[in-house]
Symmetry: C4
């Protein structure tokens, strides 16, 4: 039914591990088949080296299992909220990499400090607000998606220009037009988080001309882009 | 007599090394056979690559060697105190991994800052108080066990919900229902310590809604747990 | 035409990657053939493992492609400004390594704190000033070269004695008499940046006798040098 | 003449590299044959992978080459001063490892914060005072040895109980009864420096009961030692 997606979701999950972004089973990636309205996602709590493409679970946008013998990732409701709210995205990655997670635990946005950041994120990487008791005790994973969407809506942020977020006290989610791009953005975010950590602990009185950030983002992504072949 | 335990204790010690938690011979792991009242532990100061399962030393709960030609780890009396005080645990690991040890040397608890921490530890990872001269000059390794137990007793902490501790100016001990789980908790603790280090040096004014911690711990360990298959 | 240079530029780019200085495609190295007035440089945005020596692009000092089917690195105009301003240099490397970039993002010079630094850089590693909106929106990559040259000119710095620079909010450039030496200086700069980071976060009230720096630089590079065979 | 020493000095130098303590050619190790009054040391500035045991240079205690076609390490005069002042030591290592060097650049002693430190160093790892212009411009490498000796003499430190030192703005030297032990102490010092770095940046208001340090040092090295077999 969605065999190609199962392979790309499997590969993306394995790439997350190979990139050093996942400890134990702490990560998951998914893709959406927009035509069929189906989401293909890693099963919950399965060891990566025991997993094969056929183990990917297929759910509809209400989270009902359509195909697969394993329970989907417990974070599936978060993915579903994001797919509904951000119609341009085709894949999502969630992980607990060391530096991005440390910013999420610190509870602050990752400031835009350099051109490597600006090449992929057109602004600070936002951190969500603290969730309320009610949200946590209710439909927690769905509410996690909701606070992400709230942050983008209230901040007038474009999810394609800012392809990732930190969930406070939890960790990062990244996305892209495909699940492969979501995982690429995961690796970029970790590298950006790491360099920002070192910069921030060296000198908290930094500054960056916002024109420089716009220049770098636009030379890679703007209408007149000229980076690459 | 306890050949299966020797193999699992040997494997757990080797896993500690493979996980990057041990420098030189600075670590040890043990298991208890509750039925026989015997503890199986790594011998003292032996190089890992020279060691085989038969080298594991077997002692009774008073520390008398029951089987084995090598002296047990010099930390054996600490293990024995913990096995007596915490009847639910089946294995213990001790090591000097970089980040967990740095918190032990700093002399502070590891604050609960994120969900990866909350998934395995239902609260801060406690640090013991400074030992007195009398405790150090007396039966030092046994007293080390005693200050750990004191911390759990006085803090009303459940050793299965908080499966590890920092001994001040020394390093971490972790435990579990088996020695394999003790070593798994060792790796989790090091990762948690590392991310908390980065968070703490980024922003010391952090906060975490305690409901979020309870939610994450319970979705993995509570009666209604739903993580994994 | 310049086949030898293509091979050495290709090798230098691959060495940048092997040295851990490059994430994804975030780096480039070039050489100049002074006799012919040609610069040989990595193509823009090409994956390293798909690249061969023949893919190196050859441009003249005005940036016109003389040989090669691929667009040169988007940073080519920066390289050209440096080759014109610093006639003694034969190769340039640009990269976004973790520690050097973090100092660039922090916007400060790397202070001369130790003899490993002094062995290769006869003073602080300078950081350029913030670029103006006009410079950024104009011929940005050429202006990046200009602010580097301005820093060396205004600071009376000798580019052979200080074979590298940090571009504020961007990252390092290094150079040398050949492209191989530029890449060697890249690796030295990253190591120097890393140790300076740790020193700076340990104790910001450091000092170094400038005679010690002069001694170390001169025992490797002075007229009476006596290090090595 | 001293073929066995050449082999052990060669092996110790290679072990320094394998342990990750040396970048490029920034390190050297030597041994002394006390009976013959000869010192066997790595040649200056030679790449490790081009080096063989026969390349080790043999000098007498005045630094005159007795055997070998290559110039000895430029740090040879420092080694000679230490061999003369510390008659119990048989080998010396010098290197610029990341964390030990960062403490040397910060210009402070490494505080005794934990038992892994106390197992091998019976106190803080001392840092030498700043050298004077006269010392630096004079017989610099010999004076480097002299400030080390001065620190041990004035501080009433026993070089066997404190088998290493930080030379301010330069880097560490370690030693031992053999060159192999000197290199082992090098690896211990780097690990101790690393953990102390993390502790120090976490919480500068640390404390350690000195009885604990004495206990750990003596259980490994005292007359009643009981660690190991």
């Amino acid at each position: 039914m969605v065999e190609d997606y199962k392979l790309s979701v499997y590969s993306a999950n394995m790439e997350l591990v190979k990139s050093g972004l996942v400890t134990f089973t702490w990560g998951n990636a998914s893709a959406i088949d927009r035509a069929k309205g189906l989401v293909i996602i890693k099963p919950s709590g399965v060891a990566y080296d025991m997993m094969s493409p056929e183990d990917m679970t297929v759910v509809d946008l209400e989270g009902r299992i359509v195909e697969g013998r394993l329970k989907p990732s417990s974070d599936t409701p978060t993915h579903l909220v994001l797919y509904k709210a951000f119609p341009e995205i085709g894949g999502i990655a969630h992980f607990h990499s060391e530096f991005a997670t440390s910013w999420a635990q610190a509870g602050t946005d990752i400031p835009l400090l350099g051109t490597t950041h600006a090449d992929y994120f057109a602004g600070d990487v936002p951190c969500t607000r603290e969730m309320t008791d009610k949200e946590i005790r209710g439909d927690y994973e769905r509410e996690t998606g909701n606070v992400i969407v709230e942050r983008f809506t209230s901040g007038l942020l474009d999810p394609l220009q800012i392809p990732g977020v930190l969930v406070k006290n939890h960790g990062p989610f990244t996305w892209g037009e495909s699940v492969a791009e979501a995982v690429f953005h995961a690796a970029v975010l970790e590298q950006v988080s790491k360099i920002a950590y070192f910069s921030h602990t060296l000198n908290r009185h930094y500054s960056m001309n916002s024109s420089l950030a716009e220049k770098h983002y636009s030379r890679k992504h703007g209408t007149g882009k000229y980076y690459g072949q």
